[in-house]
């Protein structure tokens, strides 16, 4: 579509503002994390590493971080296995039941967080799962499952099933076919499902806020509690660490992906 020069400049300007609005706000945690005073007021005063120190030494923070890592790692594995199996099942079903089941399995994405949270909390109170590792893993797995299902299904849609038939005709049994033909070909989908599942669990807050107790807190719960309780710059330090970690992970992943593409072509 052709545009007048003025329209073009306006469009560029609006988009620049939107891009800044999307990206910039998060970066504000970086300067705040080096604040010398125990305050989140802007501008920060002086320079100090004390909040990073506090994150490592204060058991409230370090334990919640380790809990989150533990829960998210288990959830990533469980959700990926269950999600991949389900994606396979749905892929090989007739269209009608497959669509119905797929819709059912995607419901965790649209059910309002608080409604789900009070429901799970009610059931956990009866079954004594509040504040337990199993409780967190179960709840997070179900929230992560849709992402695995979507990622793996997208990969299965472009997967050529004749390759499986070929492997089978050459004498491979179902398991060997899966291990040597199917799995390597859908590995990108499984991997991105794994990553999404980990991130979903590591970041989950609404349900976690309800099923947590003083003995088992995850990092988002600790961050939320800290923000509502006092102006502790440790949250800014944690935010900065998470920001760096995700940037490294995503950057590394993209570099790896780019190299693979280049190698393939």
């Amino acid at each position: 579509m052709e545009m007048k020069p003025l329209t073009r400049v306006m469009l560029g300007l609006v988009c620049l503002l939107v891009a800044i609005w999307l990206v910039a706000p998060t970066l504000v945690v970086v300067p705040m994390s080096f604040n010398e005073n125990k305050s989140l007021a802007f501008p920060p005063q002086g320079f100090s590493w004390q909040w990073y120190e506090n994150f490592v030494t204060n058991p409230d923070w370090s334990n919640s971080f380790l809990n989150s890592l533990k829960v998210a790692s288990i959830v990533a594995v469980v959700a990926t296995v269950l999600g991949t199996l389900a994606a396979f099942g749905l892929d090989r079903m007739k269209a009608r039941p497959a669509n119905l089941l797929r819709m059912l399995m995607l419901t965790p994405m649209v059910v309002p967080g608080v409604v789900l949270a009070i429901g799970i909390y009610a059931v956990y109170l009866d079954t004594r799962l509040v504040g337990t590792l199993l409780g967190f893993v179960l709840a997070h797995t179900i929230l992560a499952l849709p992402f695995v299902l979507i990622a793996v299904s997208a990969n299965l849609e472009v997967f050529d099933k004749r390759l499986e038939t070929a492997a089978a005709s050459l004498g491979a049994n179902a398991l060997t076919t899966f291990r040597t033909v199917t799995l390597p070909l859908i590995a990108p989908g499984v991997m991105s499902g794994l990553l999404f599942a980990f991130a979903t669990s590591f970041d989950e807050i609404v349900v976690s806020l309800f099923i947590t107790n003083p003995y088992l807190k995850t990092l988002p719960v600790q961050i939320f509690a800290s923000i509502t309780r006092d102006a502790d710059p440790t949250v800014a330090a944690v935010g900065t660490i998470l920001l760096c970690a995700t940037t490294l992970l995503i950057g590394g992943g993209m570099l790896l992906l780019g190299r693979e593409r280049k190698g393939a072509s």
């Binding site: 052709e2 988009c15 999307l22 989140l40 089941l101 059910v111 009070i118 429901g119 179900i142 923000i227």
Partner: protein, 287 residues
Amino acid sequence: MSASEPTIPAAERRRAWRPFALALPALVLLLAVIGYPLLTIVVRSLSEPQWGLQNYVWFFSVPINLAVLQRTFVISAWVTLVCVVCAYPYAYLMTAVGPRVRLLLLLCVLIPFWVSGVVRTLSWVILLQDSGVINSILRSLGFGGVRLIRTQTGVVIGMAQVLLPFMILPLYSVMKGIDLKLVQAARSLGARPSRAFLTVYLPLSLPGVYAGAVIVFILALGFYITPALLGGPRSTMLSTLVQTQVLSLLQWGRGGAMGVVLLVTTFVLLALAAPVMRSRHRQAGRP
């Protein structure tokens, strides 16, 4: 799919249970951790303190509940509007630029997805608070401070930023498929650029606006963390009210009834939107 494969009916019948067996573990977990809890909430909303519709009658007869319900819809509508207005030019630009700039624009959309949601809300607290970035900039420019945190405006700003990617991505996927030759045809027939845009391009992009708006509105209705941290007592949304009833007042029946209202609203909106979205898919699938 299976019609093209040569299969023996008997073997197929024997193998037909296999896909269901594969999906079974996920399905069982889904019913146990989503289905059963939601059922529990529905039952409790009808049975506590005694069986009947009293909790729903209470919800729809107390003015403050209705005010919060109305506010939840108003805030969600504002967020959706802000998202449409910001996402439309952005998604359009993504279709109009070269691959390098497009990748950059796409990265800007995806970055918020990768950054932890709680951390993003924390950033908004730092930005919007009275001693925050925006107010200190305003003061250094000689303006008076503005109250942003604990106001509806602050909640809308924060929520719209979190939800903007859900608007941009469906819009972009629809706009990508629009045949620009149609716009050229309108131009060659004498339409001015603005008229060609309004009568040709805009109607063709509406399915994307519709899909994005439904997703954003539904997600906004159930928002909890952002309003809880950025909002004040006068910008309470339904989710916070549910939490107060259950955790602070231990009124499971009333909290449950509110939750069911929120849940039913969400699914009614989804059901209303589904036929339109499905027809969009069919269109997109056509070569």
